[in-house]
């Protein structure tokens, strides 16, 4: 390609860009419920700005320039109230513990059940995954069955509470995912558990 041709193409491209109308937009970082402040990077026409501040924002204006801004909580609620109200609940995780060699919950975990059910019932369409685990007492194959029995038992309790069975998956991981790493044939109450993930 000749130099002239290249220059003409470059000029045409530049003209094309310049005549392209800019659609204004606003980008802002919100504090997470735990207070964590994240980072977003906004790019327009090769201009790149990172935002990392509570209610920090970048406004892309119609003239094609980026302007940093700081919004207030009231600004955000006024503009995004209806949008934020539709944000799904964040996933929740619970761990409940079992008596040795049993699918019976410990007393403390029984008391925590209400809290778990309440969290599930806040959600109109929960996705629940229950994963059972054991400590390292007993044979691996036995523990595979025990861990699944724990998860299945948990699932039954949820179904009894009116949670639709088809929303709950139960799996057993045996002694493969110890919460507290131990040698084989070690009693460890913290490993005798189910993990419940709710979305």
């Amino acid at each position: 390609m000749g130099r002239l041709a290249a220059a003409l193409i470059a000029a045409a491209l530049a003209a094309g860009c310049a005549s392209q109308p800019v659609t204004p937009a606003l980008f802002a970082v919100l504090p997470a419920p735990d207070g964590h402040i994240g980072t977003i990077v906004v790019e327009h026409d090769g201009d790149k700005h990172a935002i990392h501040a509570k209610y920090g924002a970048e406004q892309l204006r119609a003239d094609g320039t980026l302007h940093p801004e700081t919004l207030t909580e009231a600004d955000v609620n006024a503009r995004f109230g209806a949008t934020l109200a539709a944000l799904p609940l964040p996933p929740a995780t619970f761990i409940l513990y079992f008596l040795p060699d049993s699918d019976e919950l410990t007393g403390a975990s029984k008391n925590e059940l209400e809290h778990v059910f309440a969290e599930i019932q806040r959600r109109p369409l929960p996705d629940i995954v229950v994963i059972g685990h054991t400590d390292t007492i007993g044979a691996r194959r036995y523990n595979d069955r025990l861990s699944l029995a724990r998860a299945e038992r948990m699932r039954e309790m949820m179904v009894e509470r009116g949670i639709p069975a088809d929303r709950i998956q139960a799996r057993g991981r045996g002694e493969r995912e110890l919460l507290v790493r131990t040698a084989d044939e070690v009693r460890e109450p913290r490993n005798r558990r189910v993990e419940i993930n709710v979305r």
Binding site: Q20, P21, V22, T23, P24, A25, L26, F27, A28, V29, L30, P31, A32, H36, G38, T39, I40, V41, V42, E43, H44, L60, A62, D63, G64, V76, R79, F80, A82, T83, L84, A85, A86, L87, P88, L89, P90, P91, R123, P124, L125, D127, R199
Partner: protein, 149 residues
């Protein structure tokens, strides 16, 4: 002939119902439509969302979607949000999420893929592109300006 029909039915029944499901509508306010190719689906709580779906909300509408990597996205009233690309590996947490907000408002909380690979989630607007390093953010697209000032 009859046997081959039976076989076809059995194969169809054994396939997962939503092979390309990447998320689920969890919250729904007002009227929301999902455009899937030529199809227009009235969204409801529980409607599966696929990559390349376009979420279109009415003036009274808003939709909250939970994606398979735990990304949460809500599309506000009078908005158009296209899921251009969505892939997530549940074992490695590697993935890619590209969406375009061509109109309206969006709020989001990034999920496991961004935790694993910053900026694997990107949101485009007609004139800008945003990379997400985490976690919670909002985007608003204003009416396009037809004449340059």
């Amino acid at each position: 002939m009859r046997n081959s029909w039976m076989l076809a039915l059995m194969i169809a029944a054994s396939l997962p119902a939503y092979p390309a499901e990447v998320g689920l509508v969890k919250v729904l306010h007002g009227s929301v439509t999902i455009q899937r190719g030529e199809e227009r689906i009235a969204a409801a709580v529980g409607t599966p969302v696929q990559a390349s779906d376009v979420i279109v909300t009415g003036a009274d509408g808003a939709a909250g979607i939970t994606f398979s990597d735990n990304s949460l996205v809500s599309v506000g009233p009078a908005s158009v949000f296209a899921i251009d690309k969505y892939a997530f590996d549940t074992t490695t947490y590697a993935g890619e999420f590209q969406g375009t907000l061509s109109k309206g408002r969006l709020a989001a909380v990034s999920g496991k893929m961004v935790q694993q690979t910053p900026e694997s989630m990107k949101i485009r607007t007609p004139s800008a592109i945003m990379g997400v390093r985490g976690t919670e953010f909002v985007v608003q697209v204003d009416e396009p300006v037809t004449q340059r000032p």
